[in-house]
Amino acid sequence: MSTVSADIFNSPPIADLKPDDELGKYGIWLLITTEAFLFITLFFSYFYLANRTSRWQVEIPPPITLVLILLGILVLSSIVLHFFGEMQVKKEKYGGARAGIAATIVLGLLFLGLEGFGFSQSWLNITPATDSYGSIFYVIQFFHAAHVLAGLLMLIYVLFLPLGPTQRTPYRPLHTAALYWHFVDVVWVFVVFFLFILPHLD
């Protein structure tokens, strides 16, 4: 019956195949996709409410200095995580990588601390309970902060993970967490642009 030989698939012998270390990567990409749509929905709500409400027309644009500093912190954290975290693991310098991850975590905490300080400074007395603008303005930022926290927890988890070459996936968990961290940073770019810069351009 089986006249067709097994190497019609033109592939290396199964015994030579490496362990699959990329399943996590696909999962995190799909998680990022669904979370990206979460933020797209939030931004849609922002513009939908803005377009249909007269109240927003008279508002003064929100202060921009602090969020630009925060943007700088996040960009820096992504750079640190990539060059001093992932690249170090690829070079099998695990001690250095751990320091890089720790530095990223410190930067993330600094971001959350400064953002919290920003929330505590009252701006035109606008709070989530003031009107629909206050609601969507702060809820988008809270959502983002929650995702920063999630990214931080992933990095803390990786920090305590054995990263050595004896482990079967030397840098995959780090790569997975890093992808998510970069995603969170990209979202902040959009938050800054839509919520803070655009009102100034009007």
Binding site: M1, S2, V4, A6, I8, F9, N10, S11, P12, P13, I14, A15, L17, K18, P19, D20, D21, E22, L23, Y26, G27, L30, L31, T33, T34, E35, F37, L38, I40, T41, L42, F44, S45, Y48, L49, R52, T53, R55, W56, P128, A129, T130, D131, S132, Y133, G134, S135, I136, V139, L153, Y157, L161, P162, Q167, R168, T169, P173
Partner: protein, 624 residues
């Protein structure tokens, strides 16, 4: 050698038969069965709610239940059926059969699979706590604002609506991600993207719809809960909010959801019609493309649920045209099925009869849907029983009927025993007649002007006899479904043993034992055609014994396009962590409802600890 290998594989893949083993199992077969059983329990609960409503509406001025109870009943009925039955029952089939169809030993993330099952059940529990805690949700399954705000809906009903749905979106999204990665990564060598069974395409499309559309529901529910208990103003007009925002968000999720509960069912039909017609499906590429295009176009039609809110001519034209476009893709599939039957030699098994009933009802449900896609007609029929008839024709016709076709087709694989064919045919005819007697009059009721969601009606408006007919039909339909359930329990005891391939079918799941062994396949099969069991090629040909993979819980990863072997995936073993995480989330959402924020925080912290246990790598040796 073979017996020793099987013994070793069994030890590796079988969950222990203990209480802990039952709760900790990550086996997709056990979880798939539990999904199916849970979904059928939800179906029966939702069905009883429907029958109570039909009794209330059987006569004019009937006073069986109060108006408040009626509101809660139709809401719980809609939510139970649409969220907790229609999608989970299809997920049950996918979770059980996708690994078998692709020749893998489990899904890509077995523990995630356990987690999504437990969150599904717990979200249902969260929803059904509400009637016992004073008030169930009462604003319909779509819950349009501002009626859902605290001002009009005090009590915890709508909070339960929002929180149980968020928990469900977590479950559904997790399940969808699991299916996508499994289908794209774990297919048997040779099962290139052009040789996948159509069911895998429809499951894949459905999963992408879930990943993209679910966040809109999550956001809408978060807004609702914040508005209700945490002082924001998303939907309060007085403070710049906009109730239409709810409709936009909800229906952006809601219409893709219709295809989420419909597309996998068409995939099942595309699997079993060729088997019972003894020939491959006609127009495979067209069926696949129309499945994908239905999914894509499904994102461009949500506004047709809102034609009556007032919008520009341009908007209405666009969404009306997009809605009609969908019918073209569905027609292509219908014609492919009809052509397959035409060209083949159909055998009228019970399963095939349910499938034919599905085609008939889908055509009716599609045509009356086309009617409501025409804007002026929609204005006339909006909020009447006509829409109710349409949605039941598509949801029951295109979900319940194919599900029963699938059950009669696949249950022999799951239980190892055949269902009784004669009882199955009785069940079909009673259900089919009952369904049409029950729901066809509702078209006429709608045209006569009977509005939806009213708890009673005065006599003398010409609605009496049609309503009575509808109630009688609903009960007959219920009896038809019960006959199949009796048939199922009967088959467990007295059914004829099925053997590997009772239908002489073509796809890989029929190459396994019935029920499949814990490890499913001794060798990961290879595939060279779309109908692997109908060709001359031996899927198990493996002279060097290299595809046994018995050094751990292993399966084969392949490339997503050509399915050439790529790597060896190690799958995790049983764990209680998914269950604990699901329980923590349940407590979290429950605590949010009753404002116990410290409990919510504690639940999140505990949940995170569980998540760490879940993913913490085990020290491995050997291949690994």
């Amino acid at each position: 050698m073979s017996a020793a290998v099987q013994q070793r594989l069994t030890e590796m893949w079988e969950s222990p038969h203990t209480v802990r083993g039952w709760f900790a199992t990550v086996d997709h077969k056990a979880l798939g069965k539990r999904y199916l059983v849970s979904a059928f329990i939800f179906l029966l609960i939702g069905g009883v709610e429907a029958l109570i409503m039909r009794l209330q509406l059987s006569r004019a001025n009937e006073a069986l239940i109060t108006p408040e109870m009626y509101d809660q009943l139709f809401t719980m009925h809609g939510m139970t059926m649409i969220y907790w039955y229609a999608a989970p029952v299809l997920s049950g089939f996918s979770i059980y059969f996708v690994p078998l169809l692709i020749g893998a030993r489990d899904l890509a993330y077995p523990r995630l699979n356990a987690f999504t099952f437990w969150t599904l059940v717990l979200s249902f529990v969260l929803l059904y706590i509400s009637p016992f805690a004073g008030q169930a949700p009462h604003a319909g399954w779509f819950a349009h604002a501002p009626y859902t705000e605290t001002q009009y809906s005090p009590g915890y009903g709508m909070d339960v609506f929002a929180m149980s749905l968020i928990l469900l979106t977590i479950s559904t999204t997790g399940g969808a991600i699991n299916l996508i990665v499994s289908i794209l990564r774990l297919r048997a060598p040779g099962m290139s993207i052009s040789k996948m069974p159509i069911y895998l395409y429809s499951t894949l499309t459905m999963s992408f719809l879930v990943v993209i559309s679910m966040p809109a529901l999550t956001v809408a529910c978060v807004f609702l809960e914040l508005d209700r208990r945490y002082y924001t103003h998303f939907f309060t007009v007085a403070r710049g909010g906009n109730p239409i925002l709810w409709q936009q968000l909800f229906w952006f999720f809601g219409h893709p959801w219709v295809y989420i509960v419909f597309l996998p069912a068409t995939g099942m039909i595309s699997m079993l019609i060729p088997v019972f017609c003894r020939r491959p499906i006609v127009g495979y590429p067209y069926v696949v493309l129309s499945t994908l295009l239905t999914g894509i176009t499904g994102f461009g039609v949500w506004v047709h649920h809102m034609f009556s809110i007032g919008m520009s001519q341009m908007t209405m034209s666009f969404f009306s045209a997009a809605s009609m476009t969908i019918s073209i893709f569905t027609s292509i599939q219908v014609f492919a099925w009809v052509a397959t039957i035409w060209k083949g030699r159909p055998i009228l098994t019970a399963s095939m009869q349910w499938a034919l009933g599905f085609i008939a009802l889908l055509v009716i449900g599609g045509l009356n849907g086309l009617v409501t896609a025409v804007v002026p007609v929609d204005w006339q029929l909006h909020e009447t029983y006509f829409v109710l008839a349409h949605l039941h024709y598509v949801l029951i016709g295109a979900n319940v009927f194919p599900v029963f076709a699938g059950l009669y087709y696949w249950l022999p694989k799951i239980t190892g025993r055949m269902m009784n064919e004669a009882i199955g045919k009785w069940s079909f005819w009673v259900s089919f007649i009952g369904f049409n007697v029950g729901f066809f009059p509702q078209h006429l009721l709608g045209i006569a002007g009977m509005p939806r969601r009213i708890y009673t009606f005065p006599s003398g408006l010409g609605l009496d006899s049609l309503n009575m007919t509808s109630t009688i039909g609903a009960f007959v339909f219920g009896i038809g479904i019960l006959i199949s359930i009796v048939n199922f329990f009967n088959s467990l005891r007295y059914g004829v043993l099925a053997g590997k391939d009772p239908w002489k079918a073509d796809t890989l799941e029929w190459a396994t034992d019935s029920p499949p062994a814990a490890y499913e396949v001794v060798r990961i099969p290879t595939v060279i055609s779309r109908c692997p069991l109908w060709d001359d090629y031996d899927e198990n040909y493996d002279p060097r014994n290299e595809r046994i993979l018995d050094q751990g819980r292993l399966t084969l990863a392949t490339t997503w396009l050509d399915a050439t072997p790529l790597a060896i995936s190690r799958l995790p073993d049983d764990s209680l962590a998914p269950l604990w995480l699901a329980l923590a989330l349940f407590v979290f959402f429950g605590a949010i409802i009753i404002h116990w924020l410290w409990v919510a925080l504690a639940a999140i912290v505990i949940g995170l600890a569980c998540a760490c246990f879940w993913v913490w790598p085990k020290p491995t040796k050997g291949l690994a």
